[in-house]
Symmetry: C2
Subunit: 332 residues, 2 copies
């Protein structure tokens, strides 16, 4: 038996991968897994949206802590979030998977089950990939989506005076990560708090809504933390920003954990992995932004300013600089 | 200074990455590096061709042996070869790069120089990517190309009676690899023999020629060795094949190395990394296949047969089974 072929067959059986028109998208997969490359027919008037994202053992996940289905789910979710952040419809993905031989049994089954669940939720079809054998698990995912030409929401369109919104609550993933870092994640009562860290929700429908109705001037997903991702958006737009501290929808933290120093504001400002959307809205359009979209709260948390400073304004109105203290792989 | 941003800026400066219409392709990169995702406008009537490929430290390259510019060059070349194998025009690529901090200096400069050279040769524009920090170098590359709808050459179109062709000479990359494995690669006189292993040539023009003129019934690139890749093509096509041993254009091996057991036929049959094209041609079209295409020899080496057997016929006409003994990451 050809080992690599048998692995590819298992992946193909586990994850939706039939070449077909996907339910939601107009793009057609003419040729999927099993040839040198995939063939995709994008219809006229649509642009392709393409992104890639790595998910690495001991960097992005710990194999002894994170269940394999969480690794499969989250690796696909976070890559897909970049499509949501442009307002696009995710359609297809490619999976580059490097595994040690000891992870090709039960671990791989769990991984594929989690990835399959994410693929079904996001209506993604696996179009191709590459497999290799190496001592540590390394996952790289490319997601291809589609969007009406001209509708994509980039990071560079924010203008002074625009309101800054976020979806959902911020810091929930960081709360889960801190439970793991402090060895508290095995306590039954706190297990539910791990969920946003292990199985993040992706805001595809919200991104599409904002892009299709031209309601936002700029958008980014919160993958590395509000302070870091807002700084990126401002840097791309050539603007500053002022965040209103008391408006930030920070994650709820149980009093017992607050007593141990778990700080909801710090989690909300600098915690990564939330994958909520941060978007800016010209004031004249603000009345068209609902308080909730499909049940997800949309909260104005600040405004875009002239200059380049990103600051945090307290209840007393005094502003302090908000430095990008979120996740950075190569911080010096 | 934000470390990750400074790394991204270095990559962007080193590798062609301006959003623009590429010289050769009709697809337009509307938005490149620096946002959540890239935006590509494919013109009407063209399909997108998409592939991804991993290139990993100690699996695909040895950092103490392979110069960093070879790692950059080859990782992009081999990913691009999958586009050539469909007959497509490569246009854009995404780079997922994981590096240890100690490889972010001179090593990275060399790596980017090699990748930039390959990108310029293949007229590829870097459209996006992802960077992370981990103990070993891991590269994953996604290449996006284009092809006229219906013109792509897949693995599954071979029919009994078709002639089997290969481009170039086979086994040259394996010769280089064996020099390294036996510690002979530092000898000055044998350095030129390493070139095909470190900087493989990719047959983009040949693939386009065969696809555009509808001359081939099936095609695959020789990444894992003739015996393995031919078996894949036959398996996809539901056919067998007979290879004529004395027609195989095996690499020239110096007598000194032959005396040490370097076997050109074994290299040609089972050596990977050649990236020559293997394609099948209906007999009525064989007269349209030139002996050379842009200087690259095209050699008929066998024929597609009924059944599922892949065999090797010696000079005496006796055939023995040709087992897939090329590269397999997960051989049991």
């Amino acid at each position: 038996m050809n080992g690599e072929q048998s692995l590819i067959d298992r992946i193909r059986r586990a994850i939706p991968s039939r070449p077909r028109r996907t339910i939601r998208s107009a793009s057609r997969l003419r040729l999927g897994i099993g040839d040198d490359a995939a063939l995709i027919s994008p219809p006229r008037g649509l642009d392709s949206v393409v992104t890639c994202d790595a998910f690495l053992e001991n960097i992005h996940f710990l194999p002894d802590v994170h269940p394999p289905d969480s690794v499969g789910y989250k690796s696909l979710a976070r890559a897909t979030s970049d499509i949501a952040a442009m307002g696009g419809v995710p359609c297809f993905f490619l999976l580059t998977l490097a595994l040690p031989a000891r992870r090709t049994g039960q671990w791989l089954d769990g991984f594929l089950a989690g990835m399959s669940r994410a693929a079904r939720e996001y209506r993604l079809v696996l179009a191709g990939g590459d497999t290799s054998c190496q001592p540590a698990v390394a996952i790289s995912i490319t997601v291809i989506g589609e969007i009406t030409r001209g509708a994509a929401l980039t990071r560079c369109g924010a203008r002074p005076g625009d309101l800054i919104y976020v979806s959902g609550a911020l810091g929930a993933a960081q709360l889960g990560l801190q439970l793991i870092r402090r060895g508290l994640h095995r306590r039954k009562s706190w297990k539910p708090l791990l969920h946003p860290h292990c199985y993040p929700a992706i805001r595809i429908a919200l991104g599409r809504f904002l892009a299709a109705r031209h309601l936002a001037s700029a958008m980014i997903d919160l993958s590395d933390g509000l302070s870091t991702d807002l700084t990126r958006l401002c840097s791309s737009s050539g603007t500053g920003a002022r965040i209103w501290q008391d408006r930030i929808p920070a994650v709820g933290v149980p009093p017992l954990l607050r007593a141990r120093g778990f700080d909801p504001l710090a989690f909300a400002l600098h915690g990564g992995d939330d994958y909520e959307l941060l978007f800016t809205v010209p004031r004249r359009l603000a009345k068209k932004i609902p308080a909730r979209h499909l049940g997800v709260p949309l909260t104005p948390i600040g405004e875009i300013t002239r200059g380049r400073k990103v600051s945090l304004a307290g209840k007393d109105g005094r502003a302090v600089p908000l430095h990008p203290l979120g996740w950075d792989h190569f911080r010096g």
